[in-house]
C-alpha cells in the first residue's frame, strides 16, 4: 500500500465533504481518483481480475483478491464508502506475481473497483457489486 496514514486522513477529509454531496458528485469523485491514477488514459475491460463475494457475510470485513498478470500496480476503490480509496498495491520486478488479498470494510451495498497499471503503461479496470444485507431467510 502506498498511502501513508497522513495521506489517508487527508483523502478521508476530502471524502467526508464529498459524502454530503448527491450521488453524481460521489461518482465523479471516484472518476477523479481513477483519472489521477491513470492520468486520463483509456481503460481496457479485461486484464485485471477481482474476486469478491456477491453478498458479504460481514460488511465489516469483506475478503477480496485482485490480480493482473504483469501489472506494476493495482488500485482498489470502494465506490460507496465515505472514503473510496482502499489501497494501491505496487509490484516490483522481484514480485512472483501481481496478486494481492486483503479484507476491506464496506459501508453498504456498492461497487468495488480495481484498476491495474500494466508494465507497458496501459490500464485495465474491473468492478464487482458487493451486497451488504441485513440477512434473509434461507429455504
Amino acid at each position: 500500500m502506498d498511502l501513508t496514514r497522513r495521506e489517508t486522513l487527508a483523502v478521508g477529509g476530502a471524502a467526508l465533504v464529498v459524502a454530503a454531496l448527491p450521488m453524481p458528485a460521489m461518482a465523479s469523485a471516484v472518476d477523479d481518483l481513477i483519472n489521477e491514477f491513470t492520468g486520463g488514459a483509456d481503460l481496457a475491460d479485461s486484464g485485471v481480475d477481482l474476486i469478491a463475494p456477491e453478498i458479504a457475510e460481514n460488511g465489516n470485513t469483506v475478503p477480496i483478491e485482485v490480480s493482473a498478470e504483469g501489472a506494476a500496480s493495482i488500485m482498489v476503490l470502494a465506490a460507496g464508502n465515505p472514503t473510496p480509496p482502499v489501497a494501491t498495491f505496487n509490484f516490483g520486478p522481484l514480485a512472483g506475481e501481481s496478486r494481492a488479498k486483503t479484507r476491506i470494510r464496506l459501508a453498504g451495498t456498492q461497487d468495488v473497483i480495481a484498476v491495474a497499471k500494466m508494465a507497458d503503461g496501459s490500464f485495465a479496470r474491473t468492478s464487482k457489486n458487493v451486497k451488504v444485507t441485513i440477512g434473509g431467510c434461507g429455504g
Binding site: 474476486i51 456477491e54 440477512g135 434461507g138 429455504g139
Partner: protein, 565 residues
C-alpha cells in the same frame, strides 16, 4: 461420428421417452386405481453409471402431505422458465392431465381433494424401497444427498440430528453437502461429520479465519463405476452466515466461489475424471447460472429451492436435475460415460406415493426406533384445521397466516414477521393438528419469538432487503428463500423495480391506515439471525394459540398486491 451435442440430444429424447412410457400414463392408470410400485419404478437401465439424488428431506422420516407452490415468480432471464412454472402452466409444459397423480405430485390446484385420493407422499422407509430397487438394477449406483437433511422435525431437534444420521447411514449415501445442518452449531456439525461413513463435501466451505478451503470438508470425492472415473464435487449453500445465524458457525465461510469451482473441475479433470457431477445446494437458478460460467460440469444435482423438475434442464452441455423436498421425490439418472465423457443420459423423477410404494421393513423399524422415545408427546392433538395448511409460495401460505396470527395474539403485537423458508409439510382440511405437525413448520435451533418495536421506515427496509434476496434479476444475488411472511400489515410489491423501490402502500390492517415511517410499531417475529434474541420458542406460541382456537380456519389472505410480474 456423432458429436457430443447430438448424444446429449439423443439422451434428452430418451429421457422424454421414459417420461412418456412411465410417467405420462399415470392418469389413466390412476383412473383405473391401478397405479403400482412397479410402474413408479419402471426404468430401462441405461449406460454404465447410475446416480440417485435425494435432497432437502428436512428430517421428514414419515409420509406427509406437501403442497407445491402456487406463486413462484422467476425474474430476469428466468422469467417464465422452469422451475418458475406453476399450476396450469406447469401441466401444459409437461403434458400433465388435470387431476392425475402427476398433477397431485407436482402442482397445487385442487390439492385437498387430490390428497384424499392419492394419499401421503414421502417417508424414508419408502425412499429406501426405491433406492434398493435401483440398486437391484445397478448395484453400484451412487446415492447423493444434497443436504438440509438434519433439520426440520421434533425428533431431529431433540436428538440434534442424530435420528437423521442414523436413518441416512442405513440408506448408505456416498456423499452429502450441507445447509441447515450448520444451524446445529459448528461443534455438533464437527461431531456428526467425524463419524460419517461417507464423504462430507463442499468446495465452497472455507475457513473463516484464513479465507482458505476448510480442511474439515473435502471439495470432491472420486468413484470408480462401470469402468468410468467419476468426480462428485460438493457445493454447500452459499449464503449460510447471511440467511442463517452466522454466530452459530463462526469458523466457517461460504459463498458461491465459482472461480474455485472452476479450479476444482480442472483439477479433477486433470486427475482423469470421465464424469464431473456437482452435488449442489445453490438453488436452481444459481445452478443454471453457474453451469454457464463454469466449464466442464456434466451433471448438477440441484437442491435448496425445493423444485421438483420432471426433466433435466440443459445448460450448454450440463444437465441440471432437481429432486423436490421433504422426501417427496427421488431422482434416478442413468448415464452413458465412455471415452472420458458423458455420451447420454436417461432420467426419472420418481414421486414417493406412500400408499403405492411398500415401506422397507428394516428402515421402517429403524425409523420407529428413532421416534419411539418421543412418540407420545409428538402425537398429542392440539387442534383441528378446517382448511389446507401449507407454506410453499413466494408470499404467505396459510400455515404462515396461522403462525403470524399466533404471534399477533400471543405476543400482543401490531405486526408479525415469519421467515420465508420453504420447508414444512402441509395439512388437509379435517386433519388433527398434532404437536409434531406444529414442529414440522417451526422446528429450528433459533426459535425465539421476539417482541420489539420497529419504525415504519425500518419495516420497509426489511421488506426491501428480503425482496431483493428473492427478486434480484441476477441469480447470484438470490438467497433462495421466499418473501418474509407478514401478519397485521398489507403492502404492495412491484417485482420489476430495484431494491428500495419495490415496496409501497404499507398498511396497518387493524386501522386501515398507512404505515407511518416515523412511528414505532410493536412487532413480533421469530427466527432472528441475531445472537441474544429473547422470547418463548415459536412452537409454544403456535401451540398455545391453536389450543385456544380449537379449530383453525385459514382461508388465505389477500394482503400483498403483486405487480411487475
Amino acid at each position: 461420428m456423432i458429436s457430443r451435442r447430438d448424444f446429449l440430444q439423443v439422451g434428452m429424447a430418451a429421457s422424454a421417452l421414459v417420461g412418456a412410457s412411465g410417467f405420462g400414463n399415470w392418469a389413466k392408470l390412476a383412473a383405473q386405481q391401478a397405479l403400482t410400485q412397479d410402474q413408479l419404478l419402471q426404468f430401462d437401465t441405461f449406460g454404465n453409471v447410475s446416480l440417485i439424488h435425494v435432497t432437502d428431506i428436512h428430517a421428514q422420516l414419515k409420509p406427509i402431505y406437501f403442497r407445491e407452490p402456487e406463486i413462484n415468480i422467476g425474474v430476469g432471464d428466468n422469467k417464465g422458465k422452469v422451475p418458475h412454472l406453476t399450476g396450469a402452466d406447469f401441466r401444459q409444459a409437461y403434458g400433465i392431465e388435470d387431476g392425475s397423480p402427476r398433477d397431485y405430485a407436482l402442482t397445487y390446484e385442487d390439492f385437498a381433494s387430490l390428497a384424499r385420493e392419492y394419499g401421503r407422499v414421502g417417508g424414508l422407509d419408502r425412499v429406501a424401497t426405491v433406492v434398493n430397487a435401483i440398486r437391484a438394477d445397478r448395484p453400484d449406483a451412487i446415492l447423493l444427498d444434497g443436504g438440509d437433511t438434519w433439520h426440520g422435525s421434533y425428533t431431529c431437534y431433540h436428538t440434534e440430528g442424530q435420528d437423521m444420521v442414523n436413518v441416512m447411514n442405513a440408506l448408505k449415501p456416498d456423499a452429502m453437502t450441507f445447509h441447515w445442518e450448520f444451524t446445529l452449531g459448528q461443534d455438533r456439525v464437527r461431531e456428526l461429520i467425524e463419524g460419517l461413513p461417507f464423504a462430507a463435501l463442499g468446495q465452497n466451505i472455507f475457513d473463516a479465519t484464513w479465507d482458505e478451503p476448510s480442511e474439515e470438508f473435502k471439495a470432491y470425492e472420486f468413484f470408480e463405476r462401470g469402468g468410468a472415473k467419476i468426480a462428485v464435487i460438493g457445493q454447500a449453500f452459499p449464503y449460510m452466515p447471511i440467511a442463517n445465524p452466522g454466530w452459530m458457525f463462526p469458523d466457517f465461510s461460504f459463498g458461491i466461489r465459482d472461480e474455485r469451482m472452476q479450479e476444482v473441475v480442472n483439477d479433477v479433470r486433470g486427475q482423469g475424471a470421465d464424469l464431473v457431477v456437482v452435488l449442489s445446494h445453490n438453488g436452481f437458478d444459481v445452478d443454471k447460472q453457474m453451469a454457464g460460467v463454469v466449464e466442464g460440469i456434466d451433471v448438477i444435482l440441484s437442491g435448496h429451492t425445493h423444485d421438483a423438475v420432471p426433466e433435466p434442464v440443459l445448460v450448454g452441455e450440463t444437465i441440471i436435475v432437481a429432486s423436490g423436498s421433504n422426501g417427496k421425490f427421488v431422482s434416478r439418472v442413468d448415464l452413458d460415460v465412455r471415452e472420458g465423457r458423458m455420451m447420454g443420459f436417461r432420467h426419472k423423477l420418481i414421486p414417493i406415493f406412500s400408499d403405492v410404494i411398500q415401506p422397507d421393513k428394516d428402515m421402517a423399524a429403524l425409523i420407529d426406533e428413532q421416534r419411539a422415545p418421543y412418540e407420545a408427546e409428538m402425537a398429542e392433538v392440539i387442534g383441528q384445521t378446517e382448511d389446507t395448511l401449507y407454506r410453499r409460495g413466494n408470499f404467505n401460505g396459510t400455515w404462515d397466516d396461522v403462525i403470524c396470527d399466533a404471534l399477533l395474539s400471543e405476543r400482543d403485537a401490531e405486526i408479525a414477521l415469519s421467515p420465508g423458508v420453504r420447508w414444512g409439510p402441509s395439512l388437509i382440511p379435517g386433519q388433527d393438528i398434532t404437536r409434531e405437525d406444529i414442529w414440522g413448520v417451526t422446528s429450528m435451533t433459533y426459535p425465539e419469538a421476539y417482541r420489539t418495536e420497529m419504525t415504519g421506515e425500518f419495516l420497509k427496509v426489511i421488506l426491501e432487503d428480503v425482496a431483493d434476496n428473492i427478486f434480484n434479476p441476477n441469480p447470484y444475488y438470490q438467497q433462495g428463500g421466499d418473501m418474509v411472511r407478514i401478519g397485521g400489515m398489507g403492502y404492495a410489491i412491484d417485482i420489476s423495480k430495484p431494491q428500495g423501490e419495490r415496496i409501497s402502500d404499507m398498511t396497518l390492517l387493524s386501522t386501515g391506515g398507512a404505515i407511518d415511517p416515523a412511528r414505532n410499531y410493536v412487532v413480533a417475529g421469530w427466527a432472528s439471525v441475531n445472537e441474544g434474541t429473547e422470547g418463548p420458542p415459536i412452537w409454544d406460541v403456535v401451540e398455545s394459540h391453536i389450543r385456544k382456537l380449537g379449530t383453525v380456519t385459514a382461508p388465505g389472505h389477500d394482503n400483498v398486491k403483486v405487480t411487475g410480474v
